[in-house]
Each structure stands twice: as structure tokens, then as C-alpha cells.
Symmetry: C2
Subunit: 541 residues, 2 copies
């Protein structure tokens, strides 16, 4: 196989068919000017991924098909492979249009449709059952392109092994168009998997992934190509739009590269920034509002927001009560100063007192407890929401995954917000990323005291978080990821009481997460659309 | 076919494997004492439906299988057909265990797995591809039971027509075990469909449906049997637990009945009460907290709550501000008096003022608007949540579907609550049910003025709802149900501006519904888990 391939790692937006088409056409023109023979786009390029129930709307499907015909005319002197929804004989397919000389020469249909976690493809699409390569003419020679879509590569759980079937039928190269969402460590898995296929079938492999944030999901790009010998022929940046090229001669890279070095925290930071930025900009917002408590979670969110949106677009507020300690304010203010973000103070004591006065009757004869604690959090939530209404800004909620799992958060209180940037990060990872950021900045952009002090919600006198996060967080993660049974966990931790306690806390607080803000997914199992637990649920141990 | 069949319409609870098993065994014993030959239970009887991601937990599957073996021992002198998750060769199946003489004689596997709307069965289960009848001995004779599961009956969209295939293979009777959630008019559809099958295949047909509330879904029972001539052989009550019997001689009912008379509003009322009651009791709560505004929505919710939980378990609060009219208080108080529910008044003006004072800085230079309006709703939400925390009660949110669709509601304000009983009822239906209830009570349990006055949120001076609900509600319903395209709607209404406005309001407020309380589903397309729209969504007209 001799050819030059453009990997078009573009950031498309769900439903923006006209805008996405323009990006596609621009990329095609760029690739042509670089004399590429083929340009490969990500999965469902034109509609973007995941379009969810938009796919059930007739007008949406029609608009996609109409626009594809327009794009087709622009494809001259190159083969363009574009992700589209293909509607045929009453079925919808997750497809790739293969276009040459102003004509769609064929559609490749996705075979293995993921229907687990955040994926619902069998809700929308009909599966292909007979993958086969497509013959094309390039510079006077005929090649068989083995084209597949995302999950077709991850064939472990499926009967049909698409890559193998394409290779068996004489494919000269494998081209995979993906919309593979980020989680920490995912890129390494992709490389291992593609390398396995390359070694098994001795074919070059080009993998193009979507880039961009879409609600809870972050598509990290990281597109790459391996030659038939398993050497890197291209690697595109993580969480950035890019177009790059690779050339093969007899299946071997013309310019082989060293394996890329992946840095987990660097990638995580880039992914979170992309997720925040795209959620804001694609929703038409520029400014963020954050409650800055002096604690680690809100400090980390403030840094990420400042990086994503620019410091001038981040408005932070300290909202002290009679239970707040001095260091909370000092640490919050210092963090804001370091970041050059807006900072103001709104004490809540008088509002809190007026609430207690209004609630005198229903509260009479009761003592200080959960209601009073939650009320403080809800006052703060209402203040942030009021400011967000005034400023046409979005509130960022600052809870982490461990707290959210244990229900250590107040519904309509600190859970208020349009987006939860760190709701899929466990508490130890929050510290890890905070320390990494301080390292990268070369000084304590997040104040040292914020990192070293004992965590507290400061909703009552002398209150500290009732968990040892270093012990509790891994148990939470093990329970959520469903790989570990209770029995295994008890063996592992030798603390059955704690395991049961955590299990029951997670179960008892599902109702809070049902109403939680969308959170950026950075692990294989996040709260949100990929985890569907009943609220009424009597299953226990 | 000669036999007596017990239809066991039982209310099981998700995950309560021991409790569900007890109900199953009790029903078997009762059916035996009535000399039934067969007892048919609803779909997934043992685990209850839908167990969602519990099904992915190994321990859950094991617990189900262990308990099934225990139940099996109790099955003597009767054939029991029980809905269970069957795990085999690495696949999970939505199955029925057919048990006789203390042994599982076979498993029936579900063929057509619904994966649309609220259903995600391909996420959990592997489909059967070869439905076939099961031979059993009853009173010395051999019969072929044509057993199928829920969706296997609704075969329009599927290639495999299960009922037909069972009939073709010589089934003497069709037995369908269902978990078919309620919506208005659904029971009529079921009867039409079953009657079609009976007429096509000249077989008696026994349909047993689950009863009970599970989060958003209400299973209304309404189990029934038709004989081979299409006459009713049994009909069980709507939204009530029941066991009933039908006897066939040569496929004909021994005691044929007249067709049941269905009353839409009566069934709707019963379904909503069941949905509320089960959500509370199955979650371990007895008491409800409701903000009573004097308007129609909260009045209707108060009536339903009083009927579901008992008047002594309903706590209502008027929370007047400076924008509240006198009639609001009078109407709210009258409604509470009529219902004999608790009623108290908590004015919010002083809390509102203290908030405005705290927010002086960020609000300076701005004029009264959305932020101030939302703030009032959020104060009320915080008050209700505080009381719910104190009383260990659940807040019922009172928004209807039309408002929720248009975003005419405040996130973390009037949207606060554990359950939204009328969030799938459009505004005209709210009036319809309110009038029906007044008729049934024989007096205006909901005050006449509440019904006749012009709707207002009373969040600003002289404010009234900016919609003509009689015109807007049907357009909203048409847009949500996806049966009508924008083009069709414009033709129908001859008001393109209004159609576009509504379309854009629905799109622009998806973020609110993402964080909405679970709402009881009473139409074919509700907000909630059955409707999955992207938040970032640029698709427009």
C-alpha cells in the first residue's frame, strides 16, 4: 500500500450540521493542498457524537443527508471518508461515507454497536453483519481499504471480529474512524489494541478520533497511525484540534516516529480544560461563577476554569458563615489572587438567621442538625445562582467523586451548577492534580495550606469530613467500577464494617445524583448517563 | 385446552428478592388452594422491573438464582411460571422459569428486547431467536404452552413474530408475562393487540402485568384473559394488587365476562396514587411536604398526596411574598381545609430582603429581573427542603409537563423535590383531572377560584403566565412525542412563529430537566430516562 493519508482530528458540535460541514470541507481542501490521497474523519463527523435522541428526529436525519450531498461535490482529487448517519430501508446506520470524484462510492456500516455504560447505539442504529473492504483506485492502482468504525476495533465482547474479517478479505490497510471518549489511561489501551491488530495482520493502521467536549464526555483526539511493522507513522495532540499526515510505502511509514510519551496528569488537565471550555462556548457562555471555600476542591476547579476560560471570565465568591474559619477566607483569597480571577465576599450569616426566623415554627423543639447544615449550603447555592442569573454566567459545582458517591454534598446546595468539572475525580486524585499544577506553575498557585489542611465542610462547629479519604476513596472506586464484589472488597480491605457502610451510603444517596449537574467523565465508570441505578432499590447484603 | 389459570398480579419491589419470593410463594399457595393448574406471574417477578444496572452486578444475579431454587421447592401440584434473570453461557436473559413438581422444567427466553424510550433491554440481556412452545402435562393430558414475555406481543417493529411462531408450532394457549408501564390509553391498546392475536390464531390468551410504582414508572396491572373466541375470561383491577382465575374448556372461557369499561381519568388517578404511594413507602417515607400556592398544580398534587398517603401525612405551606395576592392564600388555605391536611404559612419577604442585602454588591446597577424572580422560588425551595430534612419527609414538586417543557420553572426553586407527580401531565389535563376530582368528591375539594383564575407564578408585580395553555400545550405535546415534524405542526397550527418559539424554548431549557426530580410517566413520551437529549445541541431550523 502506497499512499498519503490525512488524519482530520476536528472538533465538531452536536447538531451544528452547517458548521461541521464547513470544517469538513476546509479540512478536505487543506489535505488536498498537502497532496493527501485519503482524508479520514472521526465517527459521525457531520452530526457529531453522541447526538442522542436527536437521531430519532426525521428532520435531523434529513438535514444530515442533504448536507452530505453538498459536501460530496467538494470531494475531488482525494478520497474523503466522513462519519454520517445513513438511513436505508427503514433502518438507521452509524456509517462512513466513502467519497471520491464528487460521488459517494460506498457506505461503510458499523458492525459492533456499543450498548453499555454511556453508549446506547442499539437504541439508534441497526448493526452491519458483513464487514468487507472497499476497493478504490489511487494513483492508478487498486487498493482494498479495510474501513471500520470505533467499537469495531474493540471486538473482545463481540462475535464478529471486524478487523480480522477485513484483513482476511485482503484489506491493504485498516482505517478506523472513532468517537472514543477520554478516561485516564485510555490512550495506552488504544495503542496496545491497535498494535495487537497490526502484529496479527501485518497491516498499517490509521486511527482517527474525535476531539471536543460534549456534555459529560470529553473526546481527546490522540489520533495516530502505525505502520505494518508497528512503528508510529503519526500521532496527533491530545485534546487539541489538528490535522496531520502519514505516508506509507509498501505498508511502511516513510517517516517513522518514536512512540509518544504519555503523561497522565498532563492529559487529564488538558481533557478537563477542553471539557469545560467546550461546554461553555458551545452553550454560548463565557463566564463562570464559583464558590471558593478555601478548600482543595473549589481551588482546583478555579484553576481549571481560569485555564479554560481565562482569568477575567472567572468570578469567585467566599461566603463565610459563623462556622467558617479564618484560614478558609485567607486561603480562598490567596488562590484567587494567584489566579488573577475576580473575588468577592458575601457573608451568609444574616440570610441564615432570617431563614431560621422564618422557620421558627416548623423547627421549634428540634436541635441543630442536618436541616441547619444543608440550609447553609442552599443559601450559598442560591447566591451563586442569583449571580449567575445576573451575569449570564454558569455556576461550576466543585464536588469530587468520592463525596458525590458518599452523598457528602447538599442537593440544591453545593450541588447547584451547570457543570461539575471534577465530579469524576476521587479525592486522592484531586490532591494529585493540585500538586501537579503547583509543580507546573513553579509556585503554590493553590495555597499550600489548602492542600495540607484537614478537609471540612464547615457547616457546624468543629466539623471535619468524617472520612479518611485515602482509605475510603479506593473502596468507593472499586464498588462503582463493578469489577469488585463486596466479598472481594472485604477480603482486600479486611474491614467489612467500612465496606458495608460505604456500600449503603452509595445506595442511600442515589436520589441526590439523579438530580446532579452533568459531570466530566474521566474514568471508565462515572456517575451520570453511563450509570443507571434504580432509586427504589431494596437489594442489599 | 382445559385448565384453570391463576393470574398473579403482584406488587414486587426492585431488589427485594426475599420479599418478592415470599409474595410469589404465598401466591402459589393461594392458587393451589383454588385448584389452579397454572399460575402466571409478571415479567421479572423475582427481581422486579426495571432493575437497571443492578443487573450488571454479579451478586444480584447470584442472589436471584439462589432464591429461585428455594422457590422451586415450593412448587408442587401446580405449574408456576415466574419471571427471572437467567444467566447461561456468559449471557443474561430476560426469562421465565417454568416450574413443575419441584423442578425447573424449562426457561422461556424473551425474544424481542425493547431498546427505546425508557427501555434499555439490549444493555442487559441477550435475545432469544427461536421461540417455541413448551409441553407440559396437566391432569394426565399434554398441552403445548405458548409462553412469551411482554414485548414479544408488541411485534410490529420486530422481524420475529413470537405469538405467530408459537401458534404455528401448535401452542394450545398463549401466556404473556409483562411489565408494561402505564400511560393513558395503554390498556385499550393492549386489549386491541391481544384480541388481534386471538382472532388470528384462535387461541386463548392470558396476559399478566406487573403492578406497582418504580421510580418514574407506574405498572398498572390490568391483567386479563381472552378466550379463543375473544371474550373476556378475566380482568384484574387497575393499579391494585390482585390474584384472579380463569378456566378454559376447549379454549373457551367457562365464565365469560363482558368487556371491561375503562375510564381514563379514573385510571389516571389510580395510577398517580399508586406511583406516589409506592415511591414513598418503598423508599421508607410516610410524609410529604408541599408548597401550596393557591394555584391549580399544587392543589392537584395535594389532593393526590392526601389520597396516596393519608391527609395526616401531608404537610403544606403557603409562602407568600410581597408579590402574592390575597386570593392565593385564601385558596391554598381552603384547599388544605377541604383535604384535612396540615397547613402553615411561612412568609418569605424578610428572607428575600436579607438575600437582596447580601447580594447588594453583585446586583448593584441592575434592575429587577430573572435573578430576583428565581431567588424567591429558591427561597421557597430551601424552606421546603429544610422542613423535609427536619420531618424526614419528601418534598413533592408540583410542576406540570407544559411548564417543564417550556422551562417555566426555577431550577433549585420550585423544581426542588423527591418526586414530581404531575410532571408528565400537560396543563389542560391538570384542569381536567382537577374537575374530575371535584365531581367525584361531590364538592369543590379544589376551590373553584383555583380552577377559574388566570395562572400566575406571582414572582413579580402583575405577572401572569405568558402562555395560552390551550394553544401551547398541544404544540408542546406534538413536539415532544416526535410524531409531528415542525413542518407538519406549522401546517396544523398556521402559526410558524409560535411553533418555532416553543421549539426553541424546549431546546434551550434541556439543562433544567437534566436536574429535574423523577416524574411519574403517564404518557408515551415523558421527560426523564426515556428522553435523552444532548445539552449542547446546535440543531435548529
Amino acid at each position: 500500500m502506497n499512499c498519503k493519508i490525512a488524519l482530520a482530528q476536528i472538533n465538531v458540535t452536536v447538531g451544528d450540521i452547517a458548521g461541521n460541514a464547513e470544517k469538513i470541507i476546509n479540512s478536505i481542501n487543506k489535505a488536498k493542498s498537502h497532496h493527501a490521497d485519503i482524508i479520514l474523519f472521526p465517527e459521525l463527523t457531520l452530526s457529531a457524537y453522541p447526538s442522542l435522541d436527536l437521531i430519532l428526529e426525521e428532520e435531523f436525519i434529513n438535514a444530515n443527508q442533504t448536507k452530505l450531498l453538498e459536501i460530496t461535490k467538494h470531494v475531488q482529487d482525494i478520497i474523503a471518508i466522513i462519519g454520517v448517519i445513513y438511513s436505508h430501508n427503514g433502518h438507521r446506520y452509524n456509517a462512513l461515507a466513502v467519497i471520491q470524484n464528487g460521488q459517494i462510492i460506498d457506505y461503510v456500516l458499523k458492525t459492533n454497536l456499543p450498548t453499555y455504560d454511556v453508549f446506547d447505539e442499539l437504541r439508534y442504529f441497526h448493526p452491519n453483519t458483513q464487514p468487507h473492504p472497499i476497493s478504490v483506485r489511487i494513483k492508478g492502482k487498486t487498493y482494498k481499504l479495510g474501513i471500520e468504525i470505533c467499537e469495531d476495533l474493540w471486538d473482545d465482547r463481540y462475535d464478529i471480529k471486524v478487523t480480522r474479517d477485513l484483513a482476511k478479505q485482503g484489506a491493504d490497510i485498516i482505517l478506523n474512524a472513532s468517537a472514543s471518549p477520554f478516561y485516564t489511561g485510555k490512550m495506552k489501551q488504544r495503542i496496545v489494541l491497535v498494535r495487537e491488530k497490526v502484529e496479527a495482520f501485518h497491516l498499517p493502521f490509521v486511527y482517527v478520533n474525535l476531539i471536543g467536549g460534549q456534555d459529560e464526555l470529553i473526546f481527546d483526539g490522540n489520533s495516530f497511525a502505525l505502520d505494518a511493522e508497528g512503528r508510529f507513522a503519526a500521532h496527533l495532540p491530545a485534546s487539541q484540534e489538528a490535522i496531520a499526515y502519514c505516508s506509507f510505502k509498501n505498508g511502511r511509514a516513510e517517516n517513522p516516529q518514536a512512540d509518544p510519551i504519555m503523561h497522565e496528569l498532563k492529559e487529564l488537565r488538558a481533557a478537563l480544560i477542553l471539557g469545560i471550555r467546550d461546554y461553555f462556548y458551545k452553550s454560548g457562555f463565557k463566564d463562570a461563577v464559583i464558590g471558593l471555600s478555601g478548600g482543595i476542591d473549589s481551588a482546583l476547579v478555579a484553576v481549571l476554569a481560569a485555564e479554560a476560560l481565562g482569568p477575567d471570565h472567572v468570578y469567585t465568591y467566599a461566603m463565610p458563615s459563623q462556622f467558617s474559619s479564618d484560614h478558609s477566607f485567607v486561603d480562598a483569597e490567596q488562590c484567587a489572587k494567584n489566579l488573577h480571577i475576580h473575588f468577592d465576599t458575601i457573608p451568609i450569616e444574616s440570610v441564615y438567621k432570617s431563614f431560621l426566623n422564618a422557620l421558627k415554627n416548623p423547627f421549634s423543639g428540634t436541635s441543630f442538625g442536618l436541616a441547619e447544615e444543608n440550609l447553609q449550603a442552599r443559601i450559598r447555592g442560591s447566591i451563586l445562582m442569583s449571580i449567575s442569573n445576573k451575569k449570564n454566567a454558569l455556576v461550576l459545582t466543585t464536588g469530587n467523586k468520592t463525596e458525590l458517591a458518599l452523598g457528602y454534598c447538599t442537593l440544591y446546595g453545593d450541588m447547584c451548577g451547570a457543570l461539575a468539572p471534577i465530579s469524576d475525580m476521587n479525592k486522592p486524585d484531586v490532591y494529585r492534580l493540585a500538586n501537579y499544577l503547583n509543580e507546573q506553575y513553579g509556585f503554590d498557585i493553590i495555597p499550600e495550606n489548602t492542600i495540607s489542611k484537614r478537609p471540612s465542610a464547615e457547616l457546624a462547629e468543629g466539623q471535619y469530613d468524617p472520612f479518611d479519604y485515602d482509605i475510603v476513596s479506593p473502596i468507593v472506586d472499586d464498588l462503582l467500577c463493578q469489577n469488585k464484589s463486596i466479598e472481594q472488597l472485604i477480603k482486600k480491605t479486611a474491614d467489612p464494617e467500612l465496606v458495608y457502610k460505604i456500600f449503603h451510603l452509595i445506595r442511600a444517596t442515589e436520589f441526590k445524583r439523579w438530580q446532579a449537574a452533568p459531570g466530566l467523565r474521566i474514568t471508565p465508570k462515572a456517575f451520570g448517563q453511563g450509570r443507571r441505578m434504580p432509586l427504589v432499590n431494596h437489594f442489599t447484603f
